[in-house]
Amino acid sequence: MAHPSDRVYSKEHEWVVVDGDVATIGISSFAQDQLGEVVYVDLPSVGDELTVGDSFGEIESVKSVSELFAPVSGEITEVNSALDDSPETVNADPHEAGWMVKVALSDAGELDALMSAGDYDAFITEG
């Protein structure tokens, strides 16, 4: 399974794409496959502060709940409210339309701790 190489990944299976000082966050294709059909995504509000490593929301399938862990810190500038009505987008298009939040990065250095697509693919193959 190959993940897009235009972004970095966390061990908790979130991806981050950086554009200037704004980071867009979602979950990986691998993660959505493991979860199965996503039925609900509970996201924070614009203005909330994310702290790296902390839970910032939840993603639900029919019979499971998983926490979303912040791969970077910063203030939320935008939330993908389209997921309220169509959470299945996370399954269909996890790396683009299925994005979850945008964050004004408070410490770009945190990105260094995240994995490249190649490392992430190796990480999930190891299990």
Partner: protein
């Protein structure tokens, strides 16, 4: 495919549109009406102080025949213990004796109001005292409150008893320990009791990992909750060491009584060192599950904890009369009324029908039947904990998933085509592709053998024709459902005009 369906399904297929009750009847249809008014009728709006209903009331108007046909049709789409074998692990789906149903419907029980004078309810109170005494003897825990309405309610009530006892000795604690095999109600009850649930792993034998337990036991721990026999169907051999370790830090040992059926008359939680337990009367004591309830979850506690029990409870006076009383330092009520009395009547009748000898026989046959199924199935399905089980065992469909891509869920659905209710699946989580099988003592040998035969057939189908199994069921009133769609766009009630 038809060939493989030689076992006639327990639920007859009945396809086609099924109406909601709201879609039946006509505005002028009537079934039951109030009798003609024999007193003067004033202005309703005046009597209600201007609160007369203006909002529309979306209830059906139907005739009695329509009601009977509608609900008979719905019933025909259901599977109960009377329909066929229901080996649903941890749920003890045994036969529900009909005499008990008759008993609870006697006007002398069903027509009682909770606020009648006690001298008009002596028979009911005597029954409650009799049931309490029997439960105390069966569990070895002398203090009994029949108040809790269900198992989870009993768990919470017992944790509240612990809290009250700790408070009385000025001991504020914060944590409750539970094994990773615990029912979800355990941690949820801990939260409702204002404590934090700490989960510990099980060892490779499927038992409590004593070292892991001892590592988290300290004076902040209020209680340890354990199902014994546990949720993989094993009796924890170290039970005395476990309860001793718990008591050593001043904590209480709690027994989740979901699996009491296995040990009736063979051993008692009180003798194992447990301080409190709940009993699911709707499991062990043969009261019906009712499609989800009502159950009843009495709690039994040590003498030390009895003063804190929720009340009121039925008591016997020295003069031979009966009444309702409050334990000395009772924590208060956990509900209105005195318990799910209608369920208590059934459970009492069950205990009186069987007696001590009969109850022991229940445990013995339940355990024998489970071991019989395990022996017959263990060469085809992986059984992670292979030793002698109690009244249930957990086997795994991991082999079938690995080799043929057929999941336990698929095999469970295929069982429906053969007229069996599936076992509990994917619980406890620590067994991959788990199936928890509890035949109960009331299944005849012929049914056990038929179940084995069908499970082996399904295993063959999984190997030879996996798509067949993955598409099951085929013969049920409906087939696999769009559960994701239901959760994404919840439609939780009928609307006469679509939005």
């Amino acid at each position: 495919m038809t060939e493989q369906l030689s076992h006639s399904p327990g639920v007859a297929p009945s396809r086609g549109p099924r109406s909601l009750i709201f879609e039946l009847g006509a505005p002028e249809s009537r079934c039951v009406e109030a009798p003609p008014l024999d007193v003067p009728m004033g202005s309703l709006d005046e009597m209600l102080g201007g609160r007369t209903r203006r909002a529309a009331l979306d209830l059906p108007n139907v005739t009695e025949l329509e009601i009977m046909r509608h609900y008979s049709h719905l019933a025909s789409m259901n599977f109960g213990v009377d329909s066929g074998m229901y080996p649903l692990g941890s749920c003890t789906m045994k036969y529900n004796p009909r005499i008990n149903e008759d008993a609870c419907r006697l006007e002398g029980f069903a027509g009682l109001h909770p606020y009648q004078p006690e001298d008009t309810t002596q028979g009911a109170l005597e029954l409650m005292v009799g049931l309490s005494d029997a439960l105390a003897e069966i569990t070895g825990l002398p203090g009994v409150s029949l108040q809790p309405a269900a198992g989870a309610h009993g768990e919470l009530a017992a944790l509240m008893v612990f809290r009250a006892a700790l408070t009385a000795r000025g001991d504020a604690r914060k944590k409750v320990i539970i094994p990773d095999t615990a029912h979800g109600t355990n941690p949820a009850s801990v939260t409702m009791c204002g404590w934090d649930a700490i989960t510990i792993p099980s060892n490779e034998r499927g038992e409590v990992d004593l070292d892991a337990l001892k590592a988290v036991l300290d004076t902040d721990v209020a209680a340890f909750m354990l199902t014994n026999p546990n949720t993989v169907g094993l009796f924890d051999e170290n039970i005395l060491e476990i309860t001793e370790a718990v008591h050593a830090v001043g904590a209480f040992a709690y027994c989740d009584g979901a699996n009491l059926n296995a040990i009736l008359g063979k051993t008692r939680p009180g003798d194992m060192g447990f301080d409190a337990m709940h009993i699911n009367l709707h499991k062990t004591f043969a009261t019906p599950h009712g499609g989800g309830g009502p159950g009843s979850g009495p709690i039994c506690v040590t003498d030390e904890l009895a003063p804190f029990l929720p009340g009121p409870i039925a008591v016997e006076f020295e003069d031979g009369g009966y009444g309702l009383g409050w334990p000395e330092q009772s924590l208060g009520r956990v509900r209105a009324g005195y318990g799910n009395f209608g369920v208590l009547v059934r459970a009492y009748a069950y205990v009186r029908a069987l007696g001590g000898f009969g109850l022991r026989e229940v445990a013995e046959q339940a355990v024998l039947s489970a071991n019989y199924l395990k022996v017959k199935l263990e060469s085809t399905f992986e059984v992670p904990y292979g030793r002698t089980c109690m009244h249930e065992f957990v086997m795994s469909g991991a082999h079938q998933k690995r080799e043929f891509g057929v999941r336990t869920l698929d095999m469970a659905k295929r069982l429906l085509d053969y007229g069996f209710h599936p076992p509990t699946i994917y619980f406890p989580m620590l067994v991959e592709e788990g199936m928890m099988i509890e035949p109960t003592e009331t299944e005849p040998l012929e049914a056990l053998d038929a179940f084995v035969e069908v499970m082996l057939t399904i295993a063959e189908e999984a190997a030879e024709n996996p798509e067949l199994v993955k598409g099951a069921p085929y013969t049920t009133p409906v087939r696999r459902l769009d559960e994701a769609g239901a959760a994404r766009n919840p439609d939780l009630r009928y609307r006469s005009t679509p939005e």
